[in-house]
C-alpha cells in the first residue's frame, strides 16, 4: 500500500437493517469510539445498538424558546409602554394578556430556529467535504444499502484487527476510504 494520501478508515457494507444493527452492537461492544453507521432512514433502536447518549437538541430549543418569550414581552413593553406610550381605548399600557399572542409567536419562532440550528450545530453541518463521499459504493447509503465506518483515528483501530471484526459481522464488502 503506497500511502499517497491519509487513510480515513474502513467502510463495511450491509444489505438489511437487521444486519447493520447486529454489526453496530458488535462494534460497540468491542470498545470503538470513532465510528458511525450510515443508513437511508433512521433505523429504530440504532442509538442503543451504537450506545449513543440522548440527543442534546432539546436544550437549544428550550433556551431559544425562553429567549423568544422574554424578548417578545420586552419588545412590546418597550415599544408600547416605555419608548412611546400611547393610550388606546383606555387600556393599560402594558399587560401580559394582550401581549401574549405576539410573545407566544416569538417563542415558537425562536424555538424553531433553535431546534434546526441546534441540530445542524451538533451534527457539524453544513459540511460539504467528507472523505466518505470518495467511495463510489457509498452513494447507495441514501438508496438501499447500510454502511458502517470505523475511522483510522480511533485509538483501537488496527488495519488487520478492525478488518477482521468487520468481516465477522458478516459484511459483504469492506473497503478502505482515503482522505
Amino acid at each position: 500500500m503506497s500511502n499517497s494520501t491519509v487513510k480515513y478508515g474502513l467502510l463495511a457494507e450491509f444489505d438489511t437493517a437487521a444486519d447493520i444493527m447486529h454489526a453496530a452492537e458488535k462494534v460497540r461492544d468491542s470498545g470503538y469510539k470513532r465510528w458511525d453507521v450510515y443508513t437511508p432512514f433512521p433505523v429504530h433502536g440504532m442509538d442503543d445498538a451504537m450506545g449513543l447518549k440522548k440527543s442534546k437538541v432539546g436544550w437549544f430549543t428550550f433556551f431559544a424558546g425562553a429567549a423568544g418569550l422574554t424578548l417578545g414581552y420586552l419588545m412590546i413593553w418597550w415599544m408600547n409602554a416605555y419608548d412611546y406610550a400611547i393610550v388606546v381605548g383606555g387600556k393599560p399600557l402594558f399587560s401580559p394578556i394582550y401581549s401574549f399572542p405576539v410573545a407566544y409567536e416569538c417563542t415558537i419562532l425562536l424555538a424553531s430556529f433553535g431546534s434546526l440550528g441546534g441540530m445542524l450545530l451538533l451534527n457539524g453541518l453544513p459540511c460539504w467535504y467528507n472523505p466518505i463521499f470518495s467511495s463510489e459504493r457509498f452513494k447507495r447509503a441514501s438508496h438501499d444499502k447500510f454502511f458502517l465506518a470505523i475511522e483510522a483515528t480511533d485509538p483501537k483501530f488496527s488495519d488487520t484487527e478492525t478488518r477482521k471484526l468487520l468481516q465477522d459481522t458478516g459484511s459483504k464488502n469492506i473497503e478502505e476510504v482515503r482522505d
Binding site: M50, T61, C106, S142
Partner: protein, 488 residues
C-alpha cells in the same frame, strides 16, 4: 429495477385476517424502488403534462401581479369595496388561503405526534402546499391596506414620527402569527427535505444537479449520529408546530371575534376556524394529490387507504364545522340579541323559497352564498360515511372540489354578510366584486400552481426517507428487514 417486485423476500408469519392492516407501501417493494419511483418524478425529460399545466399557471401568475400593479397605480377603488363592506374578497381570499395552509402542518406535525404512520406518504406535498398557500394568503393583507408602500408599518419599526405599532390590535397579532407560521413551516419543510436532497444528490447525473442538490443537502451522509439529533429536532419542531398551527387560525379568527360586529363577535370562532382550516386544507390536499398520484404513478405509495383516511378526516372536521354553524345559529337565537338574530336569519339563512316565507321575512340578499356554504361543507362531506364513496377516486375528487368551494363561501359569508347590513339601515349596501377582484383571486391560483409544479419538477414530492422508514423492510425486527428466527 422500477418494476421489480421482490418475490424472494421471506413470507410474513400469518396473523388473523381481521388484524392485518393494509400496508402503507403496496406489493412489498424493495427500498431502492421507493427512491427510484419518487425521485424519478424530478428526473429525466420534462413530461408534456407538466408543460400543459405550467404554461397556463404562469400566465395566471402574470395576471395576479398585473392586478396588483393595477391596484397600486389606481387605488383601492378598483375593487368592489365600499362602506360598510370595507373587507370583502381580499380578506375572504386571505383566510381561504391561510386555512388551506393548515393541513400541511396538521399532517406533518399533529399526525406525527399521534404516531399516524400513513402521514409519511403525503406530508411533503402537503407541507409544500402549506408554504405556497401562505404565500398566496400573504399577498392579500399586504395589498388591501391601500397605501402598499406603507406596509412596513406592520413591522416592529418606528414610523417617521417615532411611533411604534400598537400591540393591542389583533391585526398586529395576525402579522406575527402568519409570518411566524410561514417561517416555521419553511424550516420544518426544509429540515424534512435535507435527507431527501441527499438522495437526489447521490442520484444526480449532471454536474449542475449534483452541485445544486449538494449545496442544499448540506453534506448529509445518513450518519446515525446525525439521525439521532435529526429525529429529536424533528420531534421538537412537530411539538412546536402543533400549538403554532392551532394559534395561527385562532388569531386569524380574533381579527373578527375581537370586534363588536354582530356575526363576528363570537367566542366559538377560534376552534371553529381551526376545524374549518383543517377541513379546507385536507380538501386541497386531495384535490392536488389525486391527480398527482395518477400522473406520477404513485398509487402504490399514496394508496387508496391513504385517500380513505383523508376522507375520514374531512368527514370529522366537516361535522365539527357543521356543529359550529348550528351552534352559532342557536346562540344567535338563544342570546335574545336582535342584531345577532338579524344577521343569522335575515342576512344569511332566509332563502326566498322556504325559510323566508316561513319566518315571514324578506329573503336574505346573500342567501345563495349561505346555502352554497351549507351544501358544500355540511351536507356533501357526509357522503364520506360510505366506504364506497371514500374508495371511489372520482367521487372523492369531486367532493374535495366542493369542500374548497364551500370553505371559500364560508369566509365570504362571515365577512360580507355581517358587514353589509349592520346597525344602521341607512348604511346598508350590497357588495359585488369587480373584474379586478375576480382576476386577483384567480391569479393567486396561478401563483399557487406555478410554485407547486416547480416543486414537483425539482424536489422529491414524497418524503423518501420517511416512507422507507415505515416499511417492514426498514424494521430490523421484521423478517423483511432481515431479522432471523422470529421476534426479538
Amino acid at each position: 429495477m422500477a418494476d421489480a417486485i421482490s418475490k424472494d423476500l421471506p413470507v410474513i408469519p400469518s396473523v388473523p385476517k381481521e388484524l392485518v392492516r393494509e400496508p402503507l407501501v403496496l406489493n412489498q417493494r424493495p427500498l431502492g424502488w421507493i427512491s427510484d419511483q419518487i425521485a424519478g418524478i424530478a428526473e429525466g425529460k420534462t413530461p408534456t403534462w407538466w408543460w400543459v399545466l405550467f404554461v397556463p399557471s404562469v400566465v395566471l401568475t402574470v395576471v395576479c401581479f398585473a392586478m396588483i400593479v393595477h391596484l397600486m397605480t389606481t387605488g383601492v377603488g378598483v375593487w368592489g369595496l365600499q362602506v360598510p363592506v370595507a373587507w370583502a374578497w381580499d380578506i375572504t381570499n386571505f383566510v381561504f388561503w391561510i386555512g388551506i395552509g393548515h393541513a400541511g402542518t396538521l399532517i406533518s406535525a399533529i399526525l406525527f405526534l399521534l404516531r399516524q404512520k400513513w402521514r409519511t406518504s403525503i406530508n411533503r406535498a402537503a407541507e409544500a402546499m402549506t408554504i405556497f398557500a401562505v404565500m398566496c394568503a400573504g399577498i392579500f393583507p399586504l395589498i388591501h391596506i391601500g397605501r402598499i408602500w406603507l406596509g412596513w408599518w406592520l413591522l416592529p419599526l418606528p414610523n417617521s414620527n417615532s411611533i411604534w405599532p400598537q400591540f393591542r390590535s389583533p391585526l398586529l397579532w395576525d402579522v406575527f402569527a402568519v409570518s411566524t407560521y410561514f417561517t416555521v413551516s419553511l424550516l420544518f419543510w426544509y429540515m424534512g427535505l435535507i435527507p431527501d436532497l441527499a438522495v437526489m444528490r447521490d442520484r444526480a447525473k449532471t454536474k449542475i444537479r449534483q452541485v445544486a442538490y449538494g449545496i442544499f443537502s448540506l453534506g448529509w451522509t445518513g450518519s446515525n449520529r446525525h439521525w439521532s439529533n435529526y429525529e429529536k429536532a424533528y420531534l421538537l419542531l412537530a411539538g412546536l408546530s402543533t400549538p403554532l398551527v392551532l394559534s395561527v387560525h385562532s388569531i386569524v379568527s380574533f381579527d373578527f371575534a375581537v370586534s363588536q360586529l354582530p356575526g363576528w363577535h363570537t367566542t366559538i370562532f377560534p376552534p371553529y376556524f381551526v376545524a374549518g382550516a383543517v377541513f379546507s386544507g385536507f380538501g386541497m390536499v386531495l384535490t392536488l394529490l389525486l391527480p398527482m398520484r395518477k400522473v406520477c404513478k404513485l398509487e402504490e405509495i399514496v394508496t387508496v387507504r391513504h385517500i380513505e383516511l383523508m376522507g375520514k378526516v374531512i368527514l370529522a372536521t366537516g361535522s365539527i364545522v357543521g356543529y359550529a354553524y348550528g351552534m352559532e345559529f342557536f346562540i344567535a337565537w338563544y342570546s335574545g340579541n336582535p342584531y345577532e338574530k338579524f344577521v343569522f336569519m335575515q342576512n344569511r339563512a332566509a332563502d326566498p323559497f322556504i325559510l323566508g316565507p316561513l319566518w315571514g321575512v324578506e329573503p336574505a340578499p346573500y342567501w345563495w352564498a349561505y346555502w352554497s356554504m351549507i351544501s358544500c361543507n355540511v351536507i356533501c362531506p357526509q357522503l364520506f360515511w360510505f366506504k364506497k364513496v371514500r374508495t371511489n377516486m372520482w367521487v372523492v375528487f369531486v367532493i374535495s372540489i366542493f369542500v374548497n368551494i364551500g370553505m371559500w363561501f364560508e369566509r365570504f359569508v362571515i365577512i360580507v354578510t355581517s358587514l353589509h347590513r349592520d346597525y344602521m339601515p341607512s348604511n346598508w349596501a350590497y357588495y359585488s366584486p369587480t373584474w379586478v377582484d375576480i382576476w386577483q383571486f384567480v391569479g393567486t391560483f396561478g401563483l399557487f400552481m406555478t410554485l407547486f409544479l416547480l416543486f414537483m419538477r425539482f424536489l422529491p414530492t414524497i418524503a423518501i426517507g420517511e416512507v422507507k422508514g415505515v416499511t417492514p423492510q426498514a424494521d430490523p425486527h421484521h423478517p423483511l428487514g432481515g431479522a432471523k428466527g422470529g421476534h426479538h
